[in-house]
Subunit: 204 residues, 4 copies
């Protein structure tokens, strides 16, 4: 059976690739006129560590989201309005990630750390919801799925997505009080997904 | 019959994907040295709501234009100079959208709202005209179209594109007096297109 | 016979698509704090006309260069070191176009117009040379070309590329004295190429 | 046998193409209000030569890394977690190249030249390590490789990657004392790779 979703996948791949690469634009280089000597440059670069952290974890998270996007679309052969809308929402939110990333990189070292971590974890709550919406829209109509898919296989994927939500919500909830712990929870989730993704058989 | 337009479609997809992702670069993050405390940061982020609005509606509009671009090129199998020129014009205008978007996001809250909304709706008038030109160039020469396409099918698409024009013109006309209403008209049109696009059968 | 150059073409397409879209980042939006009223905003936007001109003509030129890139690679089936190097040089120069474009858009209205127009036309001299190098490297070894290509067809393409060089050199030579005329010569060449490209048969 | 890695290659190509093109954004154009006359503009553009150098060598290095990426993935038919992780690391580091490039372009002319050259050569040490990791992960499990690959062919590629490491380490080691020589060593290595890459048979 012909796969109806090839073009939307290729377009989505493009948006993921651009969004992940644009993140680097938020690593700001000091101006030479502000720097008197090498030790001052070193100290400035060291102070910018939250921007390296933000770049690294946002890059990792978008990469993992791209892997998951593929895994879902490997199971989807036809599309309807809800699938299109949910996918558009995912692309919109993935593109947006660079904004809370920039906020995180600039304000993590300030008294506003709680707020920017809440915005940062908050966008992953929304992204998780939009992935759940995409899979819900596709899986409730077996006509859209890869022919021959079993109910057990559908259920396994559904569960896999659902358990991300409480983790992100927990991270979001503690953001204001324990910002570092909230970041750590998100990073742990991504490491867990990265490690477990290798075990799922079949082409990426 | 071989499709002559595969490469121009792939290139256009790339431009659409980049143009839609670059929009996020106009979400500006406040500088830490300008922010004294968290409530000041919150207030700054709230004041930036026109830039979130502009980002959201421009992202949605480019996404819908990309869907429409595909639908048209699914019917076009050969190209001539006018098709190439009209497509180049569409890509040029889609790339340009980020400029009136940036103007909208910075000046919607000022006394210049009417002007920037007129420029914003104005570019969609031009984009609509270039889509009409593309379809006119392709449809007047049946040699260029998908083999076996009926006159009725051609007419249905032609009508579909033409009725966008008066809507955009109406939005443009009232921009100076009722800027919010002009934006609302464009958004309504995109929602209508998004909802109706799911009903059109066939692969995207 | 298998085409060895598919991946280099896809990569080149990506670079062209990104380079053409990034041009829009040089359209700068005035800051709201510098603008007192709508007529001041209008006057600022009008004064920025060189940046609209530079964006428009650079976009057009990269689009036409992309079309030509495809036409050449439709004839090339194998690659050697020189083909790879010449193509890398083309991508490097096409990516660079945004820099003289930015200089043109900022200094065309100043006493430095001659210099920035010379730099702008100069990069097209270099791009033309690199296209000639690419085609020379491919065409002197018939093993690299599409099987069954005649000497007459090779010669026709060679001539087509060579006659661009004196035109660009003429534009470059008069840049300091007649900057507007130098720009006009380049634009005329691109219009000529755009009009004549439609007549060449075969898929793009 | 079906190639499992097609999508990861296409995504990687996209990231390489965007990363290489974004480098141009670090060529900064002087502001017209800072420039009094043409000779001042010329002198400013001349002073910016480290940014042209940095742009040129980073563009070349990413282009060569892309060529090598293809060569490796032509041999890889299946993926495991380590291959995915090593490839993700390569993409992360390639995207990051623009940051040490920007530092190099701004501080090469200052007393901090040693530091920024060390950071610049340092990232290529890391990239070399990640390529070695990718090839090590793929080659130690023959199941992942192109069917029919001989031990001799595997060994030839392994050697080819390993000898880059001491060269980069040497460049890194002398960065603080002889920054110009460290840059020259990297450039020589890339020229050597570029020249030798043409001799390797088979499609790119």
């Amino acid at each position: 059976m012909e796969k109806e979703t090839a073009r939307i996948e290729a377009f989505s791949d493009g948006v993921f690739a651009i969004a992940i690469t644009l993140l680097v634009l938020d690593l700001h280089v000091p101006k030479p006129e502000d720097i008197k000597n090498t030790s001052m440059l070193i100290s400035r670069l060291q102070q910018a560590w939250p921007s390296y952290m933000a770049f690294t974890i946002s890059f990792s998270s978008i990469f993992i989201m791209w892997v998951n996007h593929h895994k879902i679309f490997k199971q989807i052969y036809k599309r309807n309005s809800t699938v299109m809308f949910a996918n558009g929402l995912i692309l919109f939110l993935v593109t947006s990630v660079s904004y809370p990333t920039a906020l995180l990189s600039r304000f993590y070292n300030t008294s506003s750390a709680g707020l920017v971590v809440a915005l940062y974890t908050g966008i992953f709550v929304l992204i998780n919801l939009s992935y759940n919406l995409l899979w819900y829209a596709a899986s409730r109509d077996k006509e859209l799925l890869r022919p021959g898919m079993t109910d057990a296989a559908i259920l396994r994927i559904s569960r896999n997505y659902l358990y991300g939500l409480p983790t992100y919500l927990a991270a979001f909830a503690i953001s204001f009080v324990y910002p570092a712990a909230a970041i750590a929870i998100c990073v742990s989730l991504w490491i867990f997904w990265a490690l477990s993704s290798g075990k799922v058989p079949g082409p990426l």
